[in-house]
Each structure stands twice: as C-alpha cells, then as structure tokens.
Symmetry: C2
Subunit: 261 residues, 2 copies
C-alpha cells in the first residue's frame, strides 16, 4: 500500500488529520522552545510521541534537528510512532541530484520512515519520484511555501508559466505521494486561487500543510480542495506547550470540526 | 578567520586546489562503488582521509550518505580532516527556512565542519548567510548546477533576469563564502559566458566545482575566472579507485598544472 492509501486508512481509523511536527532544539541551541536539559533528545521525542498519539495520524520529524541521531535511535523513534498507529515523515527537504537523492531516500527507508520531503531546487523531481517508488516510500514535494522570500521563487517564470505550476505538473507526472502548501493567512502570499490551481492538477495528491499553529494560517481553503488528503501539521504550539496531549486534542478537534463541516 | 581566508591559506600551504568528495554507500545500497563489508563506514572514511591527505586541501562529506552517523563519530572524522591540515565541508544541501536552517548549521558547527552547502529553493539566502555568519561557518550556495534538469531552473526568469544571476546577486549581498558551479563539458549546459557573468558579480567568492572527475567536466573555464578561489571536487574517481592516494596525487598534479599555466 502506498503512502497516499496509508494516510487515508490512518485518517479513517484515527479520525484525525493532525500531524505533529517535532523540532528538538537542544538546550543552548536557542533561547526558548528547546528541550529540557534533564532528558536526552530521543527520550524527549518518545515522550512527545506518546502524549500526542491518541490525537494524531502522523509525526513529522524536522530532520535538521536530528542530524546527530544514529540509525538505531531513529528506528526506535519510528517504531514508537508506528506502535501508536501513526505514520512517520522525514522532513529532510532533500535537495540533491541523482544517486545522492537515492542515498537520502535509502537512509530514510532504513530508518523506518513512511515518507520524506523533497525540495525541487535542482529540477530532477521526476527522477526523485522514481527513486522514492523504488524504495517504497512517499515523496512530498515543496510546491507553495508560505515564507515571504518564496514569493519571488513561486512567481519565477518557466517559459509561460509560474514555477509553482511547473512543479505541480511534475508532481502529477511523477505521481509523487504529496506536496507542501503553506497555510494561507492575511500576512502571507499564498492565495486561494493558487491552491485551487494546484489542487486541480493533483486530484489524488496528499498535501502537507505547515503554518496553522503558532503562525496562524488557515486550513479551510486547503481542506476545501484536498479534503482528507490534507496532512495538517502543527509543531511548536503543541510540542513546547506545557500540556502537549491537551493541545494535540484541541487542534485535532478544531481540524475535525472544519473537516466535517 | 572566515572560510574564504582559511581556504586561501590552506591552498598556499598545501599547494593544492583538490577537494575529495566522499559518498560512503553501504554494501547493498547500490551495485557498485560501495564500501567493503568488512569495514565500518567511519573506519573506511578515516582510511580514505588518511590516504588522500597529502594531496588535498579539503574533504567534502556527501551528507545524505552519512545520515546514520552520530555527532561524536562526525567529530572524530572532522578531527582527522583537520589533523591533516585540510578543511571540511558538510555537503548537506540545506534547503529549509528560518530556524530549521539555523538548526542544520548549528549541527554542522557542533560536528566540526568549516562550511555547509545550501540549496536556495525557498528563497531565503540572505537569512541563511546571516545564520552561517552567526555560527562562524562558511555557506556555499548552489548557483549553476550541471545536471540536465537544472537547465530549466537556471533559465527561470525572476523579473527580467535568469534565476542564476538573481542567486549570484543574493550571494554577493549576503556575502556567502562561496557558490557551486558544475564543471562545463560538451555534454552539459554550463557555458563559459555564464561562468564569467557570475564571477564578475562575485570577486571574492569561492567556487566549489563538482563534475571534473568521472563526469569529465573541464576545470579550465572556472579556474580562469576564480583562480585559487576554486575548490576542485573529485569524488568517486578517487575514493573508489584501488589506489586513492595515487589518484588523488594525479588529480592534484593535473589541477596544479592548470593552476600555474
């Protein structure tokens, strides 16, 4: 079963579209929102997973915070995620070419991940899709990022069309498992029209949506287009809250209300 | 001393522009060019470093082949690189935004790297430059990749100019330590004109050049523009040769002949 089908099955069983994104900042790495000094990164991560598990369908590990983790440690984290009937996403934003991308995907699979994120900078999205298929892992391609600096990139012209439509067409052709669209808000540049354009090109694609937690983006316009194919990611607003379980439940319920409305 | 000055000093001391790129494929990861089954990845990597050290000024670790390596193991590898008076480049092709890029750079610094590669997909190159400065590590930004699929990307228009010039201008403004330009060859799309355009925008930038080993690209047109600011990367042609030291010496000598001609 591919990642798209795994996701839809998991959503059905858990009645949740929530994905919890974990960025395990070390004590001293930044001034706030870091893990406590009396727990190892792995133990802290396992604790968060246990707390949010009843309310989440997936966990996304923000890989740049886990560069120090060995394969056996990552396998232990992913085994815990799967034991709770959740899926596991390696948010590596892989951005290389050829066999190096294959290596990044190979490692993610060996570690037990179900999907990996991909930044299509060097242009070889079709090759990466084939590599992900070979390793039986879902590829999730960045298409519409919501950071202010991405505005120029998304509007860059490839021939007659903007880059984001070029990328969406490559995702359709390569049959990638999913894409990333940042949640639109009054303070960013993502528009309902862009979301609709991309959704129409990708009738089966999943969409991973960052930006609905602390950043205040709206899930509604994406949910309207993608329905249960929406992977609604919330990170720090849950994991660094004093009550991660309670916050995960609150987000799950809020998203569920939008989902069935 | 910043990474640019460190590089020029190392080149002067070692009389070499050679950087050896290491992609440690596990046995079973691919059909050929993989490490032997009787050595750990770390031991094999240390062995390669020892063999090429007399002839190289830098080592580039292809990070997607090292996702399983712990911080202490990476520190051991980087200590060995530095003990041989070489510089160490984390070829992660970091491609995220905000604090996640900061995390990737934080880890690279904690592991003992001198520089890290950056894929400017999400557009926030200036922010990444500032983050690299904060952590006292060199940022090397992808600008002109030589893979066939990059042709469309480099020619994408940002307003009136192609993406590669937009990126080169951001590198100049952010004062990144270096850029990546794939070595031009008859079979790829990199032109001498493009190299010259980029070089004129970046009179102090280093340039990391893949593609001159097995891929057969030419170093000459880049060396003509960047001189000793050229980091000439050779990977598999050296590390998977039966005599890595002999091949490293041969490449060093060939590059040296071009350098002083």
């Amino acid at each position: 079963m591919g990642f798209q089908a795994q996701w839809l099955e998991t959503v059905r069983r858990k009645q949740s579209l929530l994905c919890v994104g974990i960025d395990a900042a070390e004590p001293g790495q930044r001034n706030e929102k870091a893990l406590p000094s009396d727990l190892s990164k792995v133990e802290w991560t396992l604790g968060i997973i246990d707390q949010v598990a009843p309310y989440a369908a997936a966990i996304k590990l923000n890989r740049n915070y886990y560069k120090d983790i060995s394969r056996s440690e990552m396998q232990r984290i992913n085994a815990r995620i799967h034991a709770h009937d959740m899926l596991s996403i390696d948010d590596s934003k892989l951005a290389d070419i050829g066999e190096t991308n294959d290596a990044g995907i190979y490692h993610a699979k060996a570690e037990g991940f179900d999907a990996i994120t991909y930044a299509p900078f060097p242009g070889n999205t079709l090759q990466a899709c084939a590599q992900a298929d070979k390793h039986a892992i879902g590829l999730i391609v960045l298409v519409l990022m919501s950071n202010p600096e991405y505005r120029l990139m998304k509007e860059a012209r490839i021939g007659e069309q903007p880059l984001y439509l070029h990328l969406a067409k490559q995702v359709a052709e390569g049959k990638a498992a999913g894409i990333v669209i940042g949640a639109p808000s009054d303070s960013n540049h993502i528009t309902a029209h862009e979301i609709e354009e991309v959704a129409q090109l990708l009738p089966e694609s999943l969409v991973l949506v960052p930006g609905i937690g602390a950043q205040g983006g709206e899930l509604g316009p994406i949910l309207a287009q993608f329905g249960d194919r929406t992977i609604a990611n919330v990170g720090r607003a849950i994991i660094y809250h004093q009550d991660p379980a309670g916050e995960a439940k609150a987000y799950r319920d809020r998203i569920q209300a939008l989902r069935i409305s």
